[in-house]
Symmetry: C2
Subunit: 191 residues, 2 copies
Amino acid sequence: MPRRPSFDRDELIDRARDLFWRQGWAGTSLKDLEATLQLKPGSFYAAFGSKDALFALTLEKYANDGRERLNALAAKVGPLKALQDYPMMLISGTNAPTKACMLAKTVLELQAKNHALAKTANALLSRAEAQFASLFTAAQQAKEIDGSHDPQALARRYQSDLIGLRVSAERKGVDATGIADEIADGLARLA
Amino acid sequence: MPRRPSFDRDELIDRARDLFWRQGWAGTSLKDLEATLQLKPGSFYAAFGSKDALFALTLEKYANDGRERLNALAAKVGPLKALQDYPMMLISGTNAPTKACMLAKTVLELQAKNHALAKTANALLSRAEAQFASLFTAAQQAKEIDGSHDPQALARRYQSDLIGLRVSAERKGVDATGIADEIADGLARLA
DNA sequence: GGCTTTATTGAGCGATCACTCAAGTATATA
DNA sequence: TATATACTTGAGTGATCGCTCAATAAAGCC
């Protein structure tokens, strides 16, 4: 009996993610979303509940995509090579709406107000850090890097490096590929 | 004949800087500013012209303070030691409203909209990078680090590291002092 | 085709945004 | 003290914010 929605919900979340990623939370109005998603206010709220709820969905999707891309890379070229190639991959993609990390942007924008979305982004960053740590552990088990290093510490530094790299890549007039190379070189010296 | 303003304009800019630094551009409303500066709308606009004009003043002041602090440090302990100590200094101060870099935050928030303040922040970041480069050059001339390195490349990487460090320090539940130590250690290996 | 059920529409809600301005007040000079 | 010159005040501007809801349209089951 029911009428079906005329849109692909998942594709709408993708579009919203790109918009939020680029413009941030406060920088993206419901007018922007309505225009990009081709949805009138009523449909928008029926589909997603609120701006914040949709933002949360896009954060999860963003984090999942990143995690899957890195895991796929590791399955293909091994843990160390994946960690080495990942930085360049993050800043050389042409389809991404922006180079900077959406999770970092969200924390920076919303943490001062104790917004729930900042906590979400922070937790997803911790999850990414854990993924990095397990790849460093795998690299140690594969004898690709020395066993004396603390995988947790390596992961923390690696994530910090990625965030800095991606902010630099976002800036105009800055060539960040040199930084990506240096991060990869630094990992090579852990052998 | 004229009546004098009843406030210290410079101190007001300081207070506004801390507010903008913490909450960002969109996150700081005129209500917030009026409350923090104890200024009614009319006085505010008479004194500063607009929210954006005041934000620009605070960006300049923020950048100047950072530059002077690093130069003072270098004059005291020399260029290499200054570059090594600066990271920890940035994240261990208790009086700063937030650990993250205000210039980076501004670029991330406003660059997507091509806001003039993003250009200003970007230019100030470039100025900081140039300061780092000249300190690396000075360290080479003092034979503190090897002359084979490109000061410009070192400065670019150093700035990227600082940005990542400061975002990490801003996050809850992350101990960033380890990262600061590693940055300092990395510089020691340039000898 | 009739009926039920849900999606879609868009005018408009109260709140807040950055900002203005005319009226009132305080101060330094003459 | 009188006057000119600012500074201070706060109600109020139009625009935009996220969001609501009653009315309308379309699709599946009988």
